[in-house]
Symmetry: C2
Subunit: 121 residues, 2 copies
DNA sequence: CTTCTAACTAGTAATGATTACTATTTAATT
DNA sequence: AATTAAATAGTAATCATTACTAGTTAGAAG
């Protein structure tokens, strides 16, 4: 993967933001630095950066994919307004609430390479 | 929410499947029982059932939303082939592998109603 | 049982997030 | 400086999902 101005700007935007931007949000931020950057370039780089494990994705329950820095933490997601709250102090002892937010469900997803795909590498 | 033939068939398909079907997969199964069921009806009911917490959604890393029965378990998702493996015996003591599948990341998402949305109810 | 009506459906059109394509540019190696 | 594979801008295409409309139906009330 080559180092380009566009890719560096996009990675910096993700790493310096706490707002879980979607692709268009990243595009709007990036245009402040590279006025004619293409939306396709933003999509292509977000996919490439995610594939290289340099950024993470978050699904907030809408149809948009949101992007997040690689920084170990968990999320609370409101099923009504789709707000995402970063959790840096998860405590499984009382998981029915997290700071006045009512918890209804807990999803745990392990991501990795399955047995079959390891053999094909 | 009224009980309709279409809605019952769709809920049954989700509850009797282990394959994390997407909307079109549910549509194909449903047509075996209601030959002229509409794809729009499938989408509308999947959304309604999820909103009523009768079914769950799973994101496998593709652009398709997959549906799952409400049955407390966790998921392993392969980042290469997007296979979803159900986990009923999660053990945090050694999380670097799950049954020969290499774990690279663990996402924990709490879902619920945020403080602001509670006040607006 | 009949009437009533809001909720639901089938079928189709529209939307919009994402991806694909193409000519041009550029990082970085030789 | 020359070379070239990878990347980009701009635009067109894709396709999962949602919206719309006229007709149908579940289920409550008389």
């Amino acid at each position: 993967m080559r180092s380009t101005k566009q890719r560096n700007v996009i990675l910096d935007i993700i790493n310096n933001s706490c707002s879980h931007l979607d692709a268009y949000g990243v595009y709007e931020e990036a245009r402040k630095q590279i006025s004619n950057i293409s939306l396709g370039t933003v999509y292509r780089n977000l996919n490439a950066l995610e594939k290289s494990h340099l950024i993470d994705v978050v699904y907030d329950g809408t149809d948009k994919i949101r992007y997040d820095k690689k920084d170990f933490h968990q999320h609370f997601i409101c099923v009504k307004c789709h707000k995402i709250i970063d959790i840096y102090d998860l405590n499984f002892k009382n998981i029915s609430t997290y700071k006045n937010n009512v918890v209804m469900n807990c999803k745990i997803i392990l991501e990795g390479i399955c047995e079959k795909c390891q053999k094909e590498e």
